[in-house]
């Protein structure tokens, strides 16, 4: 009986620790999905839920304030398939209204990834645009013509879109799905 109780306690402990670790890596509450992107609207807010607060304390991230801008993160393409380093993606062609935006590539934890080109992202103020003012960013491991964002030496990666000085709030319905960039998979090696 005692052995059984101890075994149950030990398994419960292990499960509890494991579940906490994985859940805090990507907290489930307070995040809004817009197309391929997720926005943790409450990250860094004083009234954030306990999961969001714990995730912030663990990651060490210094969150953007709502008044400064928004950070959108994509870990999958527009069709919902996880981003794969063997594929070519086209990200475009427009973003929600903002004074400036940047689009950068990170590893799963949000750190820039070493690459031979030394390029970690694009700025709205320094990007090649088409005739309509739209843009296409090509995300791939191999060099690509135009705005090429290299994947670099990493297995799993994420894309981060930041909108600085935007009138948008990420709360329900604040951002139209049609206004965020799409992430189209163009082919895989």
């Amino acid at each position: 009986m005692l052995v059984k109780a101890l075994a149950a306690g030990a398994i419960g402990l292990a499960l509890g620790v494991a579940a906490s670790g994985s859940i805090l890596a990507d907290p489930p509450f307070g995040a809004v999905t817009i197309g391929a992107w997720r926005v943790a609207a409450k990250a860094g807010a004083l009234d954030a839920d306990p999961y969001t607060r714990a995730a912030l304390a663990r990651s060490g991230e210094i969150p953007l304030a709502l008044g400064e801008g928004l950070k959108l993160v994509a870990r999958a393409d527009s069709a919902g398939r996880p981003l794969d380093r063997h594929c070519l993606y086209r990200v475009g062609t427009h973003t929600p209204a903002a004074r400036y935006w940047t689009l950068s590539l990170t590893d799963a934890n949000g750190y820039a990834v070493e690459n031979a080109a030394g390029r970690y992202g694009f700025r709205s103020s320094g990007i090649l645009r088409d005739g309509d003012g739209g843009f296409s960013i090509y995300v791939s491991a191999l060099a690509h013509a135009g705005n090429w964002l290299p994947i670099g030496h990493v297995q799993t990666f994420a894309l981060a879109l930041r909108l600085y000085d935007t009138p948008l709030a990420a709360s329900a319905g604040g951002i139209e799905k049609s206004s965020v960039p799409t992430i189209e998979r163009e082919g895989c090696a």
């Binding site: 499960l15 509890g16 663990r58 953007l64 670099g152 930041r162 000085d165």
Partner: protein
């Protein structure tokens, strides 16, 4: 042992596992912010002492302290401690490009932020105070000539201020880095 008794034993075992797991999980979620030794404030503490402005390292593949930092943004910080009095933050702005100040509690949550759109006379300026210090400041205000200071109450005695400046092009990063380093955070002299 009957089948029912054995099933009951299994159910009890599963329930004990689930209850323990849930208890551990919720305890961890609530305790992590309190016991975290590597939160943003602790990481900043390695880079600069309270009241002094220090640059945040630029985001890049060799920089593993502050996840999700944007390589296009230069940033600097100062930690503040209100136990010796309110702290005045001054941040000159004068470049093309976005700049902002964000005010964080000891746990990293944002309690106030402003952008260069709110700058007057070429700078963003703010006084951080505890609720008691704010009451004292207001009590000392001249009724005919009230202070023009922007004041904000910090929920915690300690915390930090981040200044961010956007560089429109990679070649303009150095200018943005110079701008954020010019921020000052100084404890106010006691009101006379």
């Amino acid at each position: 042992m009957s089948v029912t008794a054995r099933l009951g034993g299994v159910a009890l075992f599963v329930a004990t596992v689930a209850a323990t797991a849930a208890l551990i999980h919720f305890t961890m979620v609530l305790l992590v912010p309190v016991v975290a030794t590597h939160d943003a404030y602790a990481r900043l503490a390695d880079l600069g002492s309270p009241g002094t402005t220090a640059a945040l390292p630029r985001a890049g593949p060799d920089e593993r302290r502050f996840p999700w930092d944007d390589p296009a943004l230069a940033a600097a910080f100062c930690r503040f401690d209100l136990s010796a009095g309110p702290v005045r933050v001054k941040a000159p702005v004068g470049r093309a490009g976005f700049a902002s100040l964000s005010f964080h509690t000891r746990r990293g949550a944002v309690f106030y932020a402003l952008t260069d759109r709110a700058a007057t006379h070429g700078r963003m300026e703010m006084v951080i105070a505890t609720p008691a210090q704010l009451r004292q400041l207001v009590a000392h205000d001249d009724e005919d000539d009230p202070s023009q200071d922007l004041r904000v109450v910090s929920p915690t005695v300690q915390g930090f201020v981040i200044m961010r400046a956007f560089s429109e092009l990679p070649s303009l990063y150095a200018a943005a880095a110079d701008e954020v380093k010019a921020m000052t955070c100084a404890t106010e002299p006691p009101p006379s």
